[in-house]
């Protein structure tokens, strides 16, 4: 689909909000934000704000939903009706169903489900405010909430989206850049084990552009996961 050409990169090479192409928005992370959940986290990338809660491992409420040799992971990605400019219907959309799946599959590579057979680990994610990059912020929040719940993980996962705007690759796209951009490449990864665990492309890129975008994202994710570790350790300050 041809997109209206909007000028989003200035002559100085800066973005509409003044960021450099490889600059993240201000990131905030906090764990243990909910009292009932076994683990929880609040994550902000600029105006994008996501909260995640983890319950489990626990006996499943639907008793048939089990595996005899490992835990089952259940993930729900959901957007609050007030999170977008126009009210979003609270009923799950096809987009939310797909994103719940890719987020689940971005977390499974780091879990050790074989230690908790016949249980479920539930991850509930609510997007409180959407300003681009909600799925990658969700992966980041879910990873933190799992760690806060004491669920053993081989590594933490973090995510960020790289976009292409006016022919330039830009890190951590917001809504303006996402809707006017030529491509959006959300990526999640576990840097400690060197795995990309979420990878989607919405748009058109050459192989060289994909290479550059992946490098840009992975560098940022290393920083994001470091921030996750800081947030987890902050709960236990000496």
């Amino acid at each position: 689909m041809a997109k209206a050409q909007v000028q989003l990169i200035s002559e100085e090479g800066l973005r509409h909000d003044g960021r450099r192409p490889d600059e993240l928005r201000p990131i905030r992370m906090k764990v243990g934000v909910l009292s009932n959940a076994d683990g929880s986290a609040l994550v902000e990338f600029g105006k994008t704000r996501v909260i995640a809660a983890v319950y489990g491992p626990r006996e499943p409420i639907q008793k048939y939903m089990v595996l005899p040799d490992r835990a089952v992971l259940r993930v729900r990605y959901h957007m609050a009706p007030f999170s977008t400019s126009e009210r979003k219907s609270p009923a799950p959309s096809r987009r939310e169903i797909e994103l719940s799946k890719v987020i689940r599959e971005s977390l499974e590579p780091v879990l050790l489900p074989e230690y908790f057979p016949r249980t479920t680990i539930d991850v509930f994610i609510e997007v409180l405010q959407a300003d681009g990059g909600t799925r990658t912020a969700s992966v980041t929040a879910a990873s933190l909430a799992l760690a806060d719940a004491g669920i053993p993980m081989k590594a933490l996962v973090g995510g960020v989206a790289v976009g292409k705007v006016n022919g330039v690759l830009v890190l951590d796209v917001d809504e303006v850049e996402d809707s006017a951009g030529e491509a959006d490449l959300p990526i999640a990864a576990a840097p400690d084990i060197g795995l990309i665990t979420l990878f989607q492309l919405n748009g058109v890129l050459t192989r060289d552009e994909i290479r550059a975008a992946v490098n840009m994202a992975l560098k940022a994710i290393e920083y994001i996961v470091e921030k996750e570790k800081e947030a987890l350790k902050a709960k236990y300050e000496f």
Partner: protein, 230 residues
């Protein structure tokens, strides 16, 4: 009090290869020892040790635990043992003789909401853990209070060679039993003392990773006793 001998590690952090593997909290990933939960790396002993600060309780045969009765079946009770797995206690075991449904009413023996001190008889993860009360000191808890804490904090409440627990008991004269599943049974002369112990245990749970905790807990107990006049 930052200490070079202790530091907090996060999931995915590589650990000193001398740290003992302790599944699922320390596992090998690609030939490296890795922490899987937030934990405390302590270099104080002869070799570095890793203490998980977050954990879930997985029953082991022989564990003495405290369960909360949550359901009554035809021949057994179901107990919440602060674990992903619900435990089962057979009525026959509780009675110590065959169960006769015509004369024995399980609802009169144990009620929903009762705490029971029991031993894990069997657990293989394919079926629910099975409990027994057929040993001295086990059975329904009739006195005192029970609180639930994170199972990861149990070793801290007990302390090195029981030092923390002994101190609490000496300072208060209370009888305190710390079950491995994160349930603490407190039995004292009066409720005020019980409340003091509970405040102390909650503080240990919150500050388990900090040093000098035994002295601070002792001070807390003494101050609370003055405040409450007990």
């Amino acid at each position: 009090m930052p200490s070079s001998q202790r530091r907090i590690v996060a999931p995915g952090d590589e650990l000193d290869p001398k740290v003992e593997a302790k599944e699922p909290y320390v596992v090998e990933v690609g030939g490296k020892k890795v922490a899987t939960v937030v934990g405390l790396l302590d270099y104080k002993g002869q070799k570095p040790s890793y203490i998980p600060l977050e954990a879930v309780y997985i029953p082991k045969p022989g564990d003495v635990i405290i369960g909360l009765v949550t359901g009554i079946g035809v021949t057994n009770w179901f107990l919440d043992i602060n674990s992903p797995y619900q435990a089962v206690l057979n009525i026959q075991d509780f009675l110590g003789r065959p169960f006769n449904p015509a004369t024995d009413d399980p609802a009169r023996l144990l009620k929903i909401g009762d705490y029971v001190k029991a031993k894990v008889l069997a657990f293989d993860r394919t079926r629910n853990p099975l409990l027994t009360v057929q040993e001295d000191g086990l059975g329904r808890i009739t006195e005192g209070k029970v609180i639930t804490i994170s199972p990861a904090k149990v070793p801290r409440v007990i302390g090195r060679k029981g030092s923390m627990l002994n101190m609490i008991q000496e300072e208060t004269g209370c009888d305190v039993f710390v079950a491995v599943n994160g349930r603490v049974h407190v039995k004292c002369e009066n409720e005020d003392l019980e409340d003091i112990v509970i405040v102390a245990v909650k503080m240990i749970e919150r500050e388990a990773h900090k040093t000098g905790l035994t002295d601070r807990i002792r001070r807390l107990i003494r101050e609370e006793r003055v405040v409450r006049g007990v």
